[in-house]
C-alpha cells in the first residue's frame, strides 16, 4: 500500500527511468472543437425559487449562439452558477429545439439553505472575564442575490480596574459580489462599538480607555482577471473619546473626532484550495490613507506560497509586512494578536487583552501590544490526513514556526519574537474549523 501512496503526484508525461517525484498532474482542458454544432434556441432554468435572472446572467452563452457542445463556456457557466453558493448541485442538459441543430439549454439546479454562521466569538483573558458573540448572515436574502450579515460581540467588564465598563461591538454588512452578473461587486458595512480598552502603564498600573465608534465603510471590487481582484473602500466614522488631553497620547483625539479614509487594494490568489492549500500562491496589498482629524497612511502586504512536496506533504511559506505613517487612530494600529497566532485576537476590533508575546528571544517583545510597523515570516508544514467528497471535505495536521517584529516606527523599535502553532484544520460543509494550540492559548488566560 505504501508504494501506491505516491500514485497521484507523478508526471503524466513519460519520464526517465530514474523518474523522481514529483511534477503536478497536467490538467485536461475542454476541447472547443469536439461535439456537434448546435444553436441555442432558448435557456430554461428548472428547480429554482430564487430569481432566475440571477442564474441566467451567469450563463456565458445566449439564445442565437452557434457553437460546439464541447465549448468550454458551457462548463464554465455551470461553475459560475455553482459559485453563487445558492445551490447544492447544478446540471446542464440539452433538449431538442424546434428545428434540426437547435437545442434548448436546460439549467437544472438544486437549492440549498443560504443561512450562514460566519463566526463564533468566545474566550477569556486576564483583562476580560469573558467575551462572546456571533456573526450570522444570509448570502441570498429573499432570493435576491444580496448578502446580509450581522455580527455582535459582548465583553464583560473587568471588576479589578476602576472605570472599566462592558464592551460591545455590532457590525452590519451588505454585499453584492456580482452586480447584475458583472465582475464588479459592492459592499457596505455599518459599525457601532462601545470600547473599554484595557491598558497597562510602564509601571504595571492598569487602567482603561473608554471610547465609542460609529460609522461605516462602502466599497467596490473588480475581478479584472480570473484570479485577480482590485478594490476600493471609503470609510467614515465618528470616534468619541473622553474630553481629556491625555487621550491624545493614546492615539485618539479628545472629544468627538472623525475618521475618514480611502483604501485601495489588490489581490492575486492562485490556490485551488484556499482552505487547505497545497499549491499556488496568494499576494495581497492594501493602502489606506486617512484625512482630516487623523492624517495617516497604512500599507499592508502579504504573500504566501504553497507546494506539494510529495504525496500528502505540503510546505507553505508566508511573508507579511505593514507600516503606518502619521498618526492613525489607535484601533487601526497593528496588534500583537493580528500577527502572532498565540495571542488573543480582537473580536470585531475589541481589545480584550493586554497580554504581550512570550518574548522567547528576550528582546522586550512582551512589552509590545500595538505598533506602527511589523514584519514577519513563517513556514508551515502540513500533512494531508484525508480528503472526502462530502460533509467533511478534508483535514490537515499542521505545524508552523515563524518570527516577527512589531513596534514603533519613530524611533524605530520592533522587538523580534518567535511564534509557532500546531493543530488540525478541518474543511467541512459548514465551514472551517481549526483546533490548534494558537486557538487555545489565544482564548484562555495564562
Amino acid at each position: 500500500m505504501r508504494a501506491l501512496a505516491a500514485l497521484l503526484v507523478v508526471t503524466t508525461v513519460p519520464v526517465s527511468l530514474a523518474a523522481q517525484p514529483v511534477e503536478p498532474v497536467q490538467p485536461v482542458q475542454d476541447d472547443p472543437t469536439f461535439g456537434p454544432l448546435i444553436e441555442i434556441e432558448r435557456i430554461d432554468v428548472v428547480g429554482a425559487s430564487t430569481n432566475v435572472e440571477i442564474i441566467r446572467r451567469e450563463i456565458l452563452v445566449k439564445p442565437g449562439d452557434r457553437l460546439r457542445s464541447g465549448d468550454p463556456r458551457f462548463n464554465r457557466s455551470r461553475f459560475r452558477v455553482l459559485a453563487l453558493g445558492y445551490f447544492t448541485d447544478v446540471k446542464l442538459r440539452q433538449d431538442k429545439g424546434s428545428q434540426p441543430g437547435a437545442v434548448v439549454l436546460v439549467v437544472e439546479v438544486v437549492e440549498r439553505g443560504t443561512f450562514t454562521l460566519n463566526r463564533i466569538f468566545l474566550g477569556t483573558s486576564d483583562d476580560t472575564p469573558i467575551w462572546a458573540g456571533l456573526d450570522v448572515g444570509d448570502t441570498n436574502v429573499f432570493g435576491s442575490g444580496l448578502g446580509v450579515a450581522v455580527g455582535g460581540v459582548w465583553a464583560q467588564k473587568s471588576s479589578d480596574v476602576p472605570g472599566s465598563r462592558t464592551q460591545g461591538a455590532l457590525r452590519l454588512r451588505v454585499a453584492d459580489e456580482r452586480v447584475l452578473g458583472s465582475d464588479f461587486g459592492v459592499h457596505a458595512t455599518a459599525l457601532y462599538t462601545v470600547a473599554s480598552e484595557p491598558l497597562v502603564a510602564a509601571g504595571g498600573a492598569r487602567s482603561v480607555l473608554n471610547y465609542k465608534r460609529a460609522g461605516g465603510t462602502f466599497g467596490t471590487t473588480w475581478d479584472f482577471a480570473p484570479l485577480m481582484r482590485v478594490g476600493a473602500d471609503v470609510r467614515l466614522e465618528s470616534a468619541t473619546a473622553p474630553d481629556d488631553a491625555a487621550t491624545a497620547d493614546l492615539r485618539l483625539r479628545p472629544g468627538q473626532s472623525l475618521v475618514s479614509t480611502v483604501t485601495v487594494g489588490f489581490e492575486r490568489d492562485t490556490r485551488p484550495d484556499p482552505i487547505l492549500p497545497y499549491r499556488g500562491s496568494r499576494f495581497a496589498f492594501a493602502l489606506e490613507s486617512g484625512f482630516g482629524d487623523y492624517e495617516f497612511a497604512k500599507a499592508v502586504l502579504s504573500f504566501g506560497a504553497w507546494r506539494l512536496l510529495t504525496e500528502r506533504h505540503v510546505l507553505g511559506f508566508r511573508l507579511g509586512a505593514g507600516i503606518i505613517l502619521g498618526r492613525s487612530p489607535r484601533f487601526d494600529q497593528f496588534y500583537v494578536g493580528d500577527v502572532n497566532p498565540l495571542q488573543p485576537p480582537r473580536p470585531l476590533d475589541l481589545a480584550v487583552s493586554t497580554r504581550g508575546s512570550f518574548d522567547v528571544f528576550s528582546t522586550g517583545a512582551d512589552k509590545v501590544v500595538t505598533g506602527d510597523v511589523y514584519g514577519g515570516v513563517s513556514i508551515e508544514y502540513a500533512f494531508q490526513l484525508f480528503r472526502n467528497p462530502r460533509t467533511i471535505y478534508g483535514g490537515d495536521l499542521f505545524v508552523s514556526v515563524g518570527t516577527y517584529g512589531l513596534g514603533s516606527r519613530v524611533p524605530f523599535s520592533a522587538p523580534v519574537d518567535l511564534t509557532f502553532n500546531v493543530g488540525l484544520r478541518l474543511d467541512t460543509f459548514i465551514g472551517v474549523f481549526e483546533l490548534s494550540l494558537g486557538n487555545a492559548l489565544g482564548r484562555l488566560p495564562l
Binding site: 505516491a6 503536478p24 448546435i38 433538449d95 450579515a149 478594490g231 484556499p274 483546533l435
Partner: protein, 208 residues
Amino acid sequence: MNQRLLALALLLAAGAAAAEDEPPIPEKTLRFTAREPMLTVSGTFTEAFDPEMLEQLSSGFTTTVVLRMYLYRRGSDVAIWSSAATWRVVYDLWQEVYLIKAQDYAGERSYTAKTRADALVRVTTMANTPVAPLAVIEPGVDYFIGVDVEVNPVSPEVLAEVRRWMTRPSLGGASFFGGFVSFFLNPKIAEADRRLQFRSAPFFRAKP
C-alpha cells in the same frame, strides 16, 4: 488549562486516527500484452460511472474520462514510468448517436456508439492501451501498475477561480486587511465528478 490542552490533544489524536481508516486501493484483474515496442494493458472500469453520471452521458454535453497509469517495480514507491489516456464522449441529440474521441500514447481515434451502454463500454475500456516501453521493463522482475481514473476533472485554475468566488470576502468579514473567516457557507467543488483508483496484480516479463 492543562485539562483543556489535553482535550485539544485528544481531538488531534482523533483526527490522526481517522486518517488511518482510509480504505486500501483495490486490486483489479488486468491483462498485459507485449506489443513491440510497448507493454499494453486491457481491462474495464465501468464502475467509474454511477447511475447519475450515466444519465449525464446523454445530456448533450461532453463527459471526459482521464486515465493515468503509473508503473512501479514491486516493493518500490517510486513510479518508473507513467502514461495517460483520455476519452471524450458527447451525445448528438439530432443524429441520436454518441461521438467518442480517444487519445493516448498511440495517438487519437474517433468512434461512434448507438447506445449509451456501448458508449459507456467504449470510454471505460482499456483495449491494449500503452503502459510503458518494453525497454524499461527488465525481464524476471516483478512490476505492477497503479491506475487513477477521473471523470470530468476540473483544472486547478478553474478550481481556484470558483473557490475564490465562494469565499465571498466582503460578506464573510475578511477584507484586504482582514483574516480568513472561520465559518461560512462552504459548498465544495470537487476536483472531479468521480475518482477511481485501483492497482494491478504483480506481473513480470519472461526472460528471453
